[in-house]
Symmetry: C2
Subunit: 409 residues, 2 copies
């Protein structure tokens, strides 16, 4: 993820009065010890820009501001500099100490954000020390115009809910993740392998294929579209190597055979698992299939309620494959549409559809919800690639994520 | 059109009692003297399969049957052979003599067609000799279950209406015209030039581009999709020449400059004028722009009523271009949606939209309606190519139609 251009990262400015716990909250979100945590008021002085990863939200830049309730000349300068930060932020995380309560400062920041149309997530920290009452929560919500999230950076209580709140509040532009364009340089050539079978819509291409072509063109690269039978012919017409071959999963083995070994190869499913969710988490979820035991409960979740495009994949094929791997019966539950179960901890695995009917934001919310319950999650595309034994090769453009498959548990 | 595979042609079986005028009707439809016309009963003996062109319906196979009301042994054999024809036909043209009236024979044929779910168009011929009354028409309609078309093959009265009736009754599969696939052999390479500008839908391609890619794949050929800026780079990556370059009209001049002169070049607009209508008629319509004079009435017809995708092309750009060519004011009328004017003879030219919202059948009906009024018709794509001076080059895949531009009036 180090190659993510900084300009594409979600910029989150963290505001809060001195010792509201901003730095320890950053640590809790990132599982890193980057910020200096101290209980001496005012330790954090200048705004610090730090690129980091909040899984599974993705790459972000955290802008850690000085404690801006400082008084005096130096304090005034700090306030001014902190306010300049608002012009560089995509959204604001406003941290308050549950013991200190709501002050003019929080009102001031939320008003400024409203003027600038910046999304704000208010966090009530330190609930380990001072629990928050429902009455206080209701009062804060009314005064601030949004529901605060109660957390403890120390015990990590509520951190999962906070990540979900961040994803839900993120500005619309944050959804604009590229499908494959970030892997391509201008002038690069991507070959797309598109089988035409009975499942293909009459006279059209399926949307993920169209979106991938468009994404390639948007990045000043070139898209060579062929059926699997013509892939060999296509490669032979070229006097330069394609940068990547992207195939429909069902033609993967044929595409693998006809793609030169030094050319990246992946599938539309893998690209869309990344585009629509969090590839790293989903690959880890695939690896968890190995740990399933007979009798375990597995949730199969589909986001659409209408006629299922993916046929009997969720009802027949995936259950059969998983049973074969486990070597025994599993207890499958199914969910459909927007009714995603609240209670997830009973499951040993969640298998989610490709989420073509929901956006990245909603899929990430679901992934986080499942993770909070301590349950691995995989999607159809990654699951199928795993059970077919092609996941490793299909991850060739993502060597860091490929490495997950080799990790010892 | 001689390269149209016979299997794709609409097969029209013509039935009728002896001397109903089947052969002369075929001549009237095709403007050719192929069938032997004779007033000796029973001249036509065996079913004759003849590939021909009914403009603007397109390439057809006319199956001319023996007069199947013959009696006796030889007659019985003929009846049997004629019935076998029904199994090879896509639709039936049932011809009756207005002087002879409706008989059991016509009832029998229409019943057989209903059993086989074959569309039938009933033609009442020879209305020059025996005019048909509205009462008779209503009676025939009730007995046959469809409205007959009254014509005279001799005077050609009603032949235009008959062509429209044929198009409207043709089976659904008849709409399946290929976009570019009939110009390609398996393994051929087509380069698609797709500019990405503000008009392009976010994250997608426009439907004609997607349909073209799909059509190429359906014909076992390969599609190389690039923006206009990458066309030169694209050609340089190839060690074989593409068969054809297809460009968005707005990038035509750039595409022309970057396409080797011995490679076919056309635009999506030209391909869709052919796919959605009748390219030959529309090119002849473009040539008619030269004959416009100041004060002439021009109808600009758009098929959609909702937000116009084509922006101000019909309301501003095309009127301006035509005024410039004419060197004076023109009287423009506009029509929208399904309300296509019945009275067309006042116009010197009809300029129709690209008909993305109506199907080929409806567009052909409109073309024929305009032709019957003796008015030239062009569509937006062909018109724009003409005024921009690129029509000749864009017709390079269709040399016969290109020739229309050279014809003396």
């Amino acid at each position: 993820m180090d190659t993510t251009p900084r300009g594409n990262r979600l910029h989150i400015a963290i505001f809060g009065r001195r010792n509201a716990g901003k730095s320890s909250l950053i640590n809790a979100l990132t599982n890193q010890d980057i910020a200096v945590v101290s209980n001496v008021p005012g330790t954090t002085t200048d705004p610090v820009y730090k690129a980091m990863e909040i899984l599974p939200v993705g790459p972000v830049v955290i802008i850690d501001t000085a404690g801006i309730d400082d008084t005096g000349d130096l304090g005034q300068l700090r306030v001014q500099r902190s306010m300049e930060v608002l012009n560089k932020a995509d959204m604001v995380l406003l941290v308050m100490d549950s013991g200190a309560g709501l002050t003019e400062f929080e009102q001031d920041i939320t008003n400024r954000c409203r003027d600038k149309k910046l999304p704000v997530v208010v966090v009530i920290n330190k609930i380990d020390a001072t629990p928050i009452t429902p009455e206080e929560l209701a009062e804060y919500k009314e005064k601030l115009g949004s529901e605060p999230v109660a957390v403890s950076a120390l015990t990590k209580a509520g951190i999962g809910e906070l990540k979900i709140a961040l994803v839900k509040a993120a500005p619309p532009s944050w959804d604009e993740q590229s499908i494959v364009g970030d892997l391509l340089n201008p002038g690069d050539l991507a070959v797309l392998v598109v089988p035409i079978d009975l499942a293909a819509p009459k006279g059209r291409l399926i949307l993920p294929q169209v979106q991938t072509i468009r994404d390639i063109l948007d990045h000043d690269a070139m898209a060579y579209v062929v059926k699997e039978r013509e892939l060999k012919e296509c490669i032979s017409t070229l006097n330069k190597k394609p940068k990547i071959v992207i195939t429909d999963s069902q033609a993967f083995l044929k595409a693998d055979a006809d793609t030169p070994p030094d050319v990246l190869l992946t599938s539309f499913s893998i690209l869309f698992a990344r585009y629509k969710g969090d590839l790293e988490t989903l690959v880890a979820g695939a690896k968890a299939i190995e740990t399933l035991k007979p009798g375990d409960k597995v949730l199969i979740a589909e986001a659409c309620t209408h006629h299922r495009m993916e046929d009997d994949i969720g009802t027949v094929k995936i259950p059969r494959w998983l049973r074969q791997i486990v070597g025994g019966e599993l207890e499958f539950h199914w969910s459909n549409g927007h009714r995603f179960p609240q209670e997830l901890s009973e499951y040993k695995l969640v298998v989610h559809c490709g989420s073509c009917m929901i956006n990245r934001r909603e899929m990430l919310s679901r992934i986080m919800q499942v993770q909070q319950a301590g349950v691995p999650i995989v999607n159809y595309g990654v699951c199928i690639a795993y059970v077919q034994g092609i996941l490793r090769r299909a991850l060739s453009p993502f060597p860091m994520i490929q490495g997950i498959l080799d990790d010892e548990e």
